[in-house]
Symmetry: C2
């Protein structure tokens, strides 16, 4: 009954996410956005409502993805402790890719948390979810005897949230992947790991034994 769109909405959001991640919200003009997404001025307005709305779509999408990436540590074939290490390695690899653009979630949190209430509450909720996921995984590891039962899972969760945000910032500023990997593995030493936990982690990473 009508002319179909020549673009895929999810694809447009993905491209917008990349553009915003590179130059931020205020630093990305509508024209730049149109070039990056390939769609026409009016199409962007029809489909999304405007620059701010498209940004929020991209931002919310990236925030959800960032939380999901942390949530994934609660499932998997490996033991909880091994999953935490894998997650830290993954963060280091993803944010340490030299020319890779920094995470939009981190960028938006730093740029707009103080100015936009919706961004601020989204960021706060995301941090809380991440902390919860880390804490739950640590609690699982405690139940499995990999981590000292006396450890404060909530504190360690908050600690890891701060750490991965720091890694994201460093990675976006050009710190090489190897350094981020080192940071992630070094941070594991903050966990009071039991003898059983060390066995599960194996002996390939001897730095923090």
């Amino acid at each position: 009954m009508a002319r179909p769109r020549t673009f895929d909405e999810a694809d447009v959001i993905a491209r917008a996410r990349k553009a915003f991640a590179e130059t931020g919200f205020a630093g990305t003009s509508l024209d730049t956005l149109l070039e990056a997404t390939g769609l026409a001025r009016q199409s962007l307005y029809n489909a999304f409502g405007g620059k701010k709305e498209l940004f929020m779509r991209a931002f919310l999408s990236d925030a959800a993805e960032a939380v999901d990436a942390v949530e994934s540590i609660r499932h998997g074939a490996d033991s909880p402790l091994v999953r935490i290490r894998s997650q830290l390695v993954k963060v280091a690899v993803e944010h340490g890719g030299g020319q890779a653009a920094p995470s939009l979630f981190t960028k938006a949190a730093v740029e707009l948390s103080a100015q936009d209430d919706q961004v601020a509450s989204t960021v706060a909720a995301a941090f809380e979810s991440m902390q919860t996921h880390y804490g739950a995984c640590i609690a699982d590891a405690q139940a499995a005897g990999e981590i000292d039962a006396a450890a404060d899972a909530g504190s360690l969760g908050a600690f890891f949230v701060a750490l991965i945000e720091g890694m994201s910032t460093l990675g976006g500023s050009g710190v090489p992947r190897a350094t981020l990997l080192d940071i992630g593995l070094t941070s594991m030493a903050a966990i009071p790991i039991t003898e059983l936990g060390r066995e599960h982690l194996g002996t390939d990473d001897g730095d923090w034994t």
Copy 2:
């Protein structure tokens, strides 16, 4: 021989620093800047050269201050290990002040590292200096027998740089001071502290013993 200035250059830079820290470079207009600093359009141009130049003055000033804050752990009456803990507490308190503006250094690093070479190189140099200062302080603590001699001082230095950047990001996003304090103290567990080191730290913070 000439009409004297009615403003103090250092004071202008301090006010500009605050304004840029709140809304970033692209998000801070010249008019906003003029209102924040109290000087006239032409005066800003005469004294600094333009928006970008004033920003760089403010940014370089803040970056130097951020490095100095870390450098300070290399001197002091307390033992090296205690100084590290004090520094982490200080970072938590400064960045966790609820309405406090985020650090311009962190904000500029996230916003502009990918776009401006001068910012990128300044940020990289600052990170490197911070890592060196942390590493040297940790080495001092090793020499004093507070930290296991087998620990990798460089890795721990990079780890703490990532952590304080993460704390800065979290603090700028509204994470409360108490949480940041918890994060800072939790991170101390990543250091392989000797029995002597624990004695020096005292027993008032029992979480990570």
